[in-house]
Amino acid sequence: MDWQSLWLSGKLALVTVLILLPLCVFAGRALAYHQFRGKSLIEALIMVPLVLPPTVVGYYLLVSFGSESWLGQWLRNTFGIELVFHFSGLVLASILVNIPFALQPIQRAFEAIPVDVRDAAACCGMSKSKILTRIELPMIWPGLVTALVLTFSHVLGEFGVVLMMGGNISGETKTISIAIYDSVQAFDFDAAGIMSLILLLFAISALALTTSLSRRMGGQHERQH
């Protein structure tokens, strides 16, 4: 069992979720509350990373952020950031690829907040940020959990993009998905089976914990009677 890869995957999933969800809360809120021309187009564009095969997305990311690209060079020269073949690159890739999973449920949850609750909050003199944290976040909670669960799972299972951006470097970019894939490719089905099982146990317990915790925290409303 490749514990290092599991740890790396867990770290990647966690970091991705921690960065992505807050971003999607803001973006989802903006998309939910505002109507403008071209909104449907923007919503469709967000799906792009989902429509292309992951290795292809990974390839384009590699080319865009690689040391040959002006973007990659600029990042390196100004910030000293190297994304390609580094953990930070995986994080970037995971974030980009998971935007659809995280954004859509959050946006829908914001759309479902009744106007009169938002009105009341404004009339109570609550600032935008207080409305967000005290009123809206608790109300979008189920959507947030969906976003979390989908993103977390998908990061664990993601393979194509990660391979292309990461280059399968042990301890840096070799996630458990890649390790399992490698085992299958190497006909080491026992190892693949064991790793899959452990990954599944890990994921399932993390997810079951999240959903049941969130149900306990925010779920009272679901059954009114």
């Binding site: 390839y59 040959e68 390609v84």
Partner: protein, 239 residues
């Protein structure tokens, strides 16, 4: 009466020419699926509907034989060769003794070096052996980026994010590759041969058999050679 063929991705360029030749020559139609030899081997074990399998490595064919999927051991149709490659922007100078590589390692300019995963792909395994032989393995081990297959390793190399790599010569000679990177074929005697073996599957049609034979013929051999493969000795009875 279309012949279904599963072919390793690394012979795609050569195959396209050969297929064109065969279709003109015989009037049969071919449907070739390209992919990783390992995947094809797995799929064939579970009933994939192919008549002919061109593997990148003879090991997959012998596995199929052990599993009883195929009866014979097929024939070697070409030998793969390795090439040292570097993106045109890379500081790496290409030479047979790996001196440029050594130099770059010393100065620390070599950040990443691309190989196919030695545990999966035969090209990777041979490349690893080559580096070990040159006494570079320990120094370069931590700089490696591994493609799932040799084509991905090549992509790492031409992206410039890896300063160099060892990939299949058959890929390096492709015009799209040459446009972005330089390559140097590695002498055949420096590594164990990469025997690419093909095998007919049970129930293969006459047309499939004809193609099997055609692949061992002069026209096919010439194309393989043009795309950077070495050739096995000519089989008896081949055209």
């Amino acid at each position: 009466d279309t012949v279904t063929v599963a072919a390793a991705a690394n012979i795609k360029f050569a195959m396209e020419d050969i297929v064109r030749g065969f279709e003109q020559h015989s009037g049969h139609k071919l449907r070739v699926s390209y992919g990783s030899s390992g995947n094809f081997a797995s799929q064939l074990r579970h009933g994939a509907p192919f008549e002919l399998f061109l593997s990148a490595d003879e090991q997959y064919v012998s596995r199929l034989q052990e599993a009883g999927v195929v009866q014979d051991k097929g024939v070697i149709y070409a030998y793969g060769r390795l090439a040292l490659v570097a993106a045109k922007s890379s500081p790496l100078t290409l030479d047979n003794e790996f001196d440029g590589l050594r130099q770059l390692l010393k100065t620390g300019e070599l950040k990443r070096f691309a190989l196919a995963n030695p545990d999966l792909a035969p090209y990777g395994e041979r490349a690893k052996a080559l580096l070990q032989q040159a006494g570079l393995w320990d120094a370069i081990k931590d700089k490696l980026v591994l493609g799932e297959n040799v084509s991905q390793a090549a992509q790492f190399a031409i992206s410039g994010s890896a300063q160099g790599g060892i990939v299949a010569l058959s890929l390096a000679v492709a015009p799209q590759f040459r446009a972005k990177a330089n390559y140097l074929p590695i002498p055949e005697d420096q590594h164990q041969p990469l025997a690419q073996r093909m095998v007919l599957l049970p129930g293969a049609s006459a047309a499939a058999n004809a193609f099997y034979v055609y692949l061992q013929g002069d026209e096919a051999r010439k194309v393989f050679a043009d795309y950077g493969f070495s050739l096995p000795p000519k089989a008896h009875g081949a055209p």
